[in-house]
Symmetry: C2
Subunit: 371 residues, 2 copies
């Protein structure tokens, strides 16, 4: 039997829309990968009665729930109190180890612990405490109704670490031999539209029953996602492998990466393998391409230099674009871009030069040269 | 009486975590600005029974609900059918105007309408139809239980337009003379920590009862958000104005903008006013600063040129950093950065030059020069 899971996000910042909740998507993905079926996400604010009510509702519906937020030291942080009430009126008890770890956290940073931080070590009696190695708020596991809740901090970095190191292993243990696996594979493509990709791989589910297809536009790429779930992990891996090879053959040279890497990482790997280097001249993209390229760890192996030149003067002076070209074609033209690419390549002594050109908008476009 | 609102997001992509739901945050903000109290967000997948059940639950709790997603042409799109069931078993009826608009949408794009798009014009009998000027899926308003639901497409661009042009005016009308207003003001600061800002403006709620304070770290800035709600709009504007002036005095020269503009826009406005220009030399930030600067519309008025130089060679050759400086101090040092800034300023003929330096990580750091 597949276990049913729900996700609860708490906090006025998310409820009021001041903050987009990205935690729930992360948790959903991880729980589905672990073979659970996530049926619902709920978000409510910092209100004791609402929190208690919604925990009881989830406790009636789900087998597993992961809740985030509200474990902090301030009076707005009500999750622990609400959980203790929803579990039938448990007492809050000082956990010595949690208190010690909070004290150590502050000492390690040479900061003074405030009395309110002591509140974070007050946890429901009988809870399965999830100590927090990277922050002050410990989490905990607690049964409410028929559902085992895991309460985690809302800070994404802390939540992710505690989810993978502490919550997922506990869930795996619960599943025992009935555990089912869920695998995903992401294939990055470039140069086809979303519907073009969709039509090309439309037969996938027919050829590979049990594999679910998802498409996602991640500008300028289209990602193909393959999902499948089964109890037999070996069979699952083989199926995903076969389906991935089939997709790769169908899409052909428009596949950038079979591991979901973006173009800048795939290009970087090729350059590194070949011992080649790259220089970039940007205009309207204003540093975006350089930023993408240099965001890849290890990019200093092949990325030498980039120039962002808005003015004609700097295009001539630094990149060596000829005055005639600029006068004849203007700043935004293929010929100018060619000379920019060649100029930056020469300047940096790189194997390849790339240049971009255009009008960034929202103003400045003309009929001949649109934004 | 403040009206209670809830938000429902539907779709397997969000439920499974393949997609982060940013719609609900946008809708929450707009509804709270309109004076409603948003108490809960819910997300469920494309499942008819679940959709019907959750609509009935919300119908028992809220006065207003905004739902997104599931209005498309495919068999996965079940929102309309579920809404008709939840409202007590309404028939779905072909809306001629909606059908005409869908046909016109396809004709305008010289694409052929598929029979499945006809399904999008089948709407619950008696629904208040919200025509979609920018896509194929019409939305609709429908009472379920005691709650007036507004169903909108999940595509953010379509949803936002229909929310502001059609849903919010209808809500305002419903509120009539009891309407309350909610105003927010964002103040951008730089150079203080989040807790430093918090302590500096801690007295705000005491000085200005009714104004709620929120802090948000938006690297490298800390934003101060002031929220207030009241029925008297004039009083509200005056209160926010006073509180904003008080905050500005408290924070002093660390305020970047009283309109929530980020640093790059505030700096750009100053440069434009003074008729001055800027050039940038980046190292480890890899184009990020140029990207921020050039993302501001009109930045070509003052932004001339930027160089991203990873190699020592390009630092010497292009920016004119002296070999002695590089040998004595290394690539990552204040002296080197100074010469880079001066070099790029001279090269571009700009009023000011900026340079950054560092080790980007995750590898390459040493004890002396950490990441």
């Amino acid at each position: 039997m597949t276990m049913i899971a729900e996700i609860l996000c708490t906090g006025d910042e998310v409820r009021s829309g001041a903050l987009v909740d990205s935690n729930s998507a992360h948790i959903s993905q991880k729980l589905e990968e672990a073979g659970l079926e996530v049926t619902r996400h709920t978000c409510v604010g910092d209100n004791l009665e609402t929190l208690e009510a919604v925990m009881k509702e989830i406790g009636n519906r789900a087998d597993i729930a992961v809740a985030t937020g509200g474990l902090g030291p301030t009076t707005d942080d009500l999750t622990t109190e609400a959980a203790a009430k929803a579990a039938g009126g448990l007492k809050l008890i000082l956990d010595e180890r949690a208190l010690g770890e909070i004290e150590a956290f502050f000492n390690g940073r040479k900061r003074v612990m405030t009395p309110s931080n002591r509140k974070q070590a007050m946890l429901p009696q009988g809870a399965d405490i999830l100590y927090n190695p990277v922050g002050t708020a410990p989490g905990f596991g607690l049964k409410i109704g028929k559902c085992l809740f895991f309460f985690l901090p809302g800070v994404p970095y802390e939540m992710k670490k505690m989810l993978s190191d502490q919550v997922l292993p506990r869930i795996e243990k619960l599943q025992g031999r009935n555990r089912s696996f869920c695998k995903t594979r992401t294939i990055s493509t470039f140069g086809l539209t979303e519907s073009g990709v969709g039509e090309t791989v439309a037969d996938l589910s027919e050829k590979f029953p049990g594999i679910r297809l998802g498409l996602r536009a991640n500008f300028p790429e289209i990602q193909i996602k393959l999902y499948a779930a089964a109890q037999d992990e070996t069979w699952l891996d083989a199926q995903i492998e076969k389906a991935s090879a089939w997709v790769s053959e169908k899409i052909g040279h428009r596949v950038i990466s079979l591991e979901g890497h973006p173009m800048e990482a795939a290009v970087g790997n090729l350059l590194r393998q070949r011992g080649e280097t790259l220089a970039v001249a940007e205009s309207c993209t204003g540093g975006l391409i350089s930023h993408w390229l240099t965001n890849v760890s290890g990019s200093s192996d092949y990325f030498l230099f980039s120039a962002v030149s808005y003015s004609n003067e700097s295009k001539m002076k630094v990149l060596g674009v000829s005055q005639e070209t600029l006068e004849q074609y203007g700043a935004v033209h293929e010929e100018t871009a060619k000379e920019m690419a060649e100029g930056v390549r020469r300047l940096a002594g790189a194997t390849y030069g790339i240049a971009t050109s255009g009008i960034a908008g929202p103003t400045g476009g003309t009929d001949e040269k649109p934004v």
